[in-house]
């Protein structure tokens, strides 16, 4: 029996490896004691031992909005593509982390923050546009709603209001809290809110995780009266909705919902849902996109138990703000269609989204088609901007907020240009 020391074996190996033109990893000196500063072993992508983490990890990292806005002259709106006759211009720049949009009765445009602490008002006086901070020091004030002169603000753990806000923009005072029975959570802990035709205020209370059995208080859309009373669960099985609106004719409630991460590049897709009965369950965490059960918590469940989506919005695409188009400026085909801002993916090597899409509906409220409307916030797999919310103005033009570049854009339509 021939016995060799490990260094002899290594020398033999080295000769072999050199002849093959390969390099050998350095010798680990001692097997008993780890060296003083141990680095984790280079890991690989699950199921793909050929792909080192370091390479692919870069493309799967969270995309974080910069805390300071992009200067107006550096907004790359020239990259945006849309159909002939439509035009996009910068409506307001320098609004760091511009999120939800609401328009007051007197035309004030309100803009919220998610990662920062402010609510802004954009006004026009004598043809001059002005942006001012009307509230600050707030806790993730993502949610905004406007009703009968009052602005409602949805913060992490409370809903508050500023009455007669358009008459007191220079001195709005502190918001008054109307409801504070919301769980304190950092994960999906910002609120999207809206007021319905029933004069109730609807609040998204997202799952406190990527995927988990959510507590009873979470993964739901809740509604309250405008004085904060009468809270009830309106929809369940909602992972995290950052956009909802009511059909202008049927008054049905539609909402976007963001699918879980780290399952696959292509699954699940984000959803567009319709509530036809109070208390419906939309599947999270057991069933995704209406047709497959979850790898971790879906065992023993069936998608038949839940209300399926009316349309799929793309994997990881982050379908956020949505509004029915009720204006008269855009062509007739867009009337009562749903515009959806897709913030854009992070948990996908080839990013998708970073656009505004439009879902056109059939008479029965089902979805006829989903088409791109404005594309190009994503360029060479990187974002220069990320759309968050859309809002129809009185003249039928449309505002789009962008929390990455810190801006609000306005889209108009000119039939003469379209027919040229």
């Amino acid at each position: 029996m021939i016995s060799r020391t490990s260094s002899q074996i290594r020398l033999l190996l080295a000769g072999l490896v050199t002849s093959l033109g390969l390099t050998l990893p350095p010798i680990i000196q001692s097997q008993e004691k780890p060296p003083p500063n141990v680095q984790p072993a280079p890991t690989t992508v699950p199921g793909r031992p050929d792909i080192p983490n370091a390479e692919i990890a870069k493309t799967l990292r969270g995309v974080t909005s910069p805390p300071l806005p992009t200067p107006a002259e550096k907004l790359q709106i020239g990259q945006l593509k849309m159909a002939k006759g439509f035009k996009l211009e910068v409506y307001a720049s320098g609004i760091a982390n511009a999120r939800s949009l609401r328009i007051g009765d007197k035309g004030t445009v309100f803009v919220s923050n998610r990662q920062l602490d402010k609510v802004y008002a954009i006004t026009e006086r004598n043809g001059k546009r002005e942006t001012k901070v009307i509230a600050s020091g707030l806790d993730r004030p993502n949610g905004l709603a406007f009703h009968s002169g009052t602005l409602y603000i949805g913060e992490g753990t409370k809903i508050s209001k500023l009455e007669k806000i358009e008459d007191s923009l220079d001195n709005p005072g502190k918001p008054t809290v109307i409801y504070s029975e919301l769980p304190n959570q950092q994960s999906h802990g910002w609120r999207y809110i809206a007021i319905g035709p029933d004069n109730k205020l609807y609040i998204n209370v997202g799952a406190p995780c990527n995927i988990c059995e959510p507590p009873e208080t979470n993964a739901q859309i809740r509604r309250i009266n405008l004085d904060g009373s009468g809270a009830e669960v309106f929809a369940r099985g909602v992972r995290n909705s950052v956009g909802f609106d009511w059909h202008p004719i049927t008054k049905d409630f539609y909402f976007t919902d963001n699918g879980r991460d780290w399952l696959s590049e292509d699954l699940p897709e984000d959803e567009l849902n319709r509530v036809t009965k109070v208390g419906q369950h939309f599947g999270f965490p057991y069933c995704h996109q209406g047709n497959f059960t979850d790898r971790d918590v879906g065992w023993g469940r069936s998608c038949n138990e839940f209300t399926p989506p009316v349309a799929l919005m793309g994997p990881h695409s982050a379908a956020l703000g949505m509004r029915f188009y009720t204006g008269n400026m855009f062509p007739r085909e867009y009337r009562n269609a749903i515009f959806v801002a897709r913030h854009g993916s992070w948990n996908r090597t080839q990013k998708i989204g970073g656009d505004v899409i439009v879902a056109k509906l059939n008479v029965d409220g089902t979805v006829k088609s989903v088409e791109p409307f404005i594309t190009g916030f994503l360029h060479n797999n990187e974002y220069w901007g990320r759309p968050v919310d859309v809002h129809v103005m009185k003249d039928g033009s449309m505002l789009i907020s962008d929390d990455y570049a810190g801006a609000v854009y306005r889209v108009t339509y000119n039939p003469q240009v379209a027919s040229r």
């Binding site: 890991t43 990890a57 969270g62 974080t64």
Partner: protein, 184 residues
Amino acid sequence: MLAALTALSASIAGAATLDEGLAPCLACHGEKGQSQIAEVPSLGAQPVFFLSVQLLMFRDKMRPIEPMSGMMKDWSDDDLRRAAEAFAKLSPPNAALEPPDATRAEGARALIEQHRCNFCHKQDFSGEQNAPRLAGQREDYLLKALRDYKNNNRRAYDAAMADVMHPLTDANLQDLSHYLSRLR
């Protein structure tokens, strides 16, 4: 020391030099980028993006922690940027001399792989963009930060940490802090 803190509150722009303006910061966080004070983080070689975000959150009271918020209340955006750049240029902190406990290191490495910590914080945990450097950070600070994220006591600029923290136990957080603080 209190006098020094008060002096800074005016503005770092008001100080004769940037070094002078930042001296009170480094009195606690460590002149060479390595903190010697319990639960005070080392700032050396942290990514500029991460530092800017944290400074802004202190100034604008999204993380209302004294003396940070008070000291920075009059800082301009430019002050934030200059301070972040200066801290980022300090040397990375030295890891603890003794190696990590083998069992805890193994546990931490498994958690890192499972929860993909190195996707954002990088393979060597030197950090990038909004993901801070963790290698060589003070163990007590790492544990405090992780617990604060886990218990929703620390407001994050984005929710990535809260998502990751959800399934982790306190023992997990202890192993991670033990291991990462000993990583160079």
